[in-house]
């Protein structure tokens, strides 16, 4: 109940700050890039539109998750709006979860809108709807939920600029850590390999959520992989939120 109220208020804030206008940028980027890239490349135009569209949804969602997520808690403390809120009989955990869910809701609605535009553009080119695309977008959304938790965690103890840098670093590491996996296969068994394996477990692997190539090129996706990726997302996000709560629970609001 209290969590819902805080979440809806967070969504209202995003709406009133005209965040949803980002959609127009998305449409422009989608249209212009798919047109230009189609001119420059030889091959299937529809595949390029799909590629650009999925990449744009991922990029815009990521920008929202990081830029809004890092300011989520910091702004409340900086503007002292948190004082009257926490003076009410509210658990700090409820506050934090409310904020998180509010932003996830905002990102969800934005993703739905972007998907609708994207499908429309595709439909105008092919006159069919490829429902498999939705699967790729669903996993992009899971990744965005995780990134929101990352941004929220950093925003509980650092300023927005630092938190943004940390989150971007997390994102980059997350998309490059697959190379670590390859390295592990090449290193001989021993201490070095154990260290690398430990590192791989701790570092995020965001490529788990990337089904763009498979969907665009119509490659088969094993169901077990989908299941593991989903589970990975849920566990990692829960872990990040738990960390954020631990930091937030004992924090002084000076």
């Amino acid at each position: 109940m209290k969590i819902t109220t805080i979440a809806l208020n967070t969504f209202k804030e995003a709406k009133r700050d005209r965040v949803l206008y980002l959609l127009f940028f998305f449409v422009a980027v989608c249209l212009i890039f798919s047109r230009f890239l189609a001119l420059l490349t030889v091959g299937d135009r529809v595949k390029i539109i799909k590629d650009v569209g999925l990449a744009s949804i991922s990029l815009f969602g990521m920008l929202m998750a990081i830029l809004m997520g890092t300011g989520l808690v910091y702004k409340e403390i900086d503007k002292k709006t948190i004082f009257t809120l926490l003076a009410k009989p509210i658990h700090r955990v409820e506050f934090l979860l409310g904020k998180y869910l509010g932003l996830v809701l905002t990102i969800f609605i934005m993703t739905v809108l972007m998907t609708a535009v994207f499908l429309l553009i595709l439909f105008l080119h092919t006159f069919t709807i490829d429902w498999k695309i939705l699967l790729a977008i669903l996993y992009i959304f899971f990744e965005l939920c995780l990134m929101t938790a990352v941004a929220l965690l950093f925003s509980t103890f650092s300023s927005p600029i630092l938190a943004t840098l940390f989150s971007l670093a997390f994102y980059l590491i997350g998309h490059l850590s697959w190379s670590l996996e390859m390295l592990i296969k090449k290193v001989k068994a021993g201490a070095g390999r154990v260290v690398l394996q430990a590192l791989y477990i701790v570092l995020p692997d965001l490529e788990n959520f990337n089904f763009k190539t498979e969907v665009v090129h119509n490659l088969p996706i094993p169901t077990s992989l989908l299941g593991i990726s989903f589970l990975y997302g849920v566990v990692y996000t829960a872990f990040l939120l738990l960390l954020a709560m631990l930091v937030f629970r004992r924090r002084d609001f000076i």
């Binding site: 208020n9 009133r16 004082f83 009410k88």
Partner: protein, 305 residues
């Protein structure tokens, strides 16, 4: 009379700077507030007033010491169920309108339907913000924010109202309205905790006061006990006579035109001044006995430290 709020030896330090340096802000604060009184918490800027309030509301955690609200440990959210709070220089979600802002807090408190609408309407009227109810808070002035903030603090029908510098940013009429509202809260049986550095406000409405200086409570008690009723001196303004006439009776502070302001310390000499004026056909413009004020006590205490 039950204790509404109790603080026992509360210590708090902040770690500040790049290489953290400990700074002790509260040095063993202890006081308690009885049910139904207006308690004034008085101190100069930076004495630790707001820090104390944040400790009570669990916004910061004391290093040691115990705080109980209605007998409940302040660390539990339940302890804050019957508490209303207005912070100093309140900041609120500026993208909400006044009405939406109150609705948000009403939702958090679990109010809905007609009860919610009625309550919002009632409090908007109480703080005089009806006409600005549908304006976004970013367009509010400081005094208006203060008013809507008070409405927010009273929304849950609290038994204890904590107000941090409630009169800051208000115009004279607003201050009077706020004073009336606070006195009314007391009449409704609520307990009020009021922090301020404006002595006049506290002197006019508080039953008991505590004075905090550099993180320590240096005096507390009933206002009547702290301030003696003894007349310190009498100020008399006389017209139509030269200051030299009174040189033996009291000191003349200023004179302008044909008026002289005299400060007379003994009661007999006051009588002598009056008879002298009557005898010489002068005029007494005013005669005011000055008693000790909270300000006198406060200033002398701050000086002594």
């Amino acid at each position: 009379m039950g204790k509404v709020l109790e603080l026992e030896k509360v210590y708090k330090s902040y770690k500040l700077g790049f290489i953290p340096k400990k700074k002790l802000v509260l040095k063993g604060i202890s006081f308690s507030i009885n049910e139904g009184e207006i308690f004034g918490y008085l101190g100069p800027n930076g004495a630790g007033k707001t820090t104390t309030i944040k400790c009570i509301l669990n916004l910061i955690f004391p290093d040691s010491g115990k705080i109980t609200i209605f007998g409940e440990d302040s660390l539990k959210p339940r302890a804050r169920e019957k508490v209303g709070f207005l912070p100093e220089n309140p900041y609120f979600y500026d993208y909400l309108t006044g009405r939406e802002f109150l609705a948000f807090y009403a939702d958090l408190l679990g109010l809905h339907g007609k009860a919610k609408e009625d309550k919002i309407g009632y409090f908007l009227k109480l703080v005089g913000m009806e006409r600005a109810a549908d304006l976004q808070l970013r367009k509010y002035s400081r005094g208006m924010l203060q008013r809507i903030g008070l409405a927010q603090a009273l929304l849950n029908d609290p038994a204890l109202v904590i107000l941090d510098e409630p009169m800051g940013g208000l115009d004279p009429i607003g201050r009077k309205e706020f004073r009336d509202i606070i006195v009314n809260l007391k009449k409704e049986g609520k307990t009020v905790f009021l922090s301020s550095h404006i002595l006049q406000d506290i002197e006019m409405i508080c039953d008991r006061v505590a004075i905090i200086l550099a993180g320590e409570i240096i005096n507390q008690g009933y206002l009547g006990d702290l301030i003696s009723e003894k007349v310190l001196y009498t100020e008399i303004i006389v017209a139509g006579l030269p200051p030299s006439e009174f040189s033996r009776l009291g000191e003349s502070v200023t004179s302008s035109g044909d008026r002289v302001l005299l400060r007379v310390y003994e009661q007999e000499k006051v009588d002598q001044v009056i008879s002298l004026v009557l005898q010489k056909k002068g005029k007494i413009v005013s005669l005011i006995p000055r008693t000790e004020t909270l300000e006198d006590i406060f200033v002398s205490m701050v000086r002594n430290q």
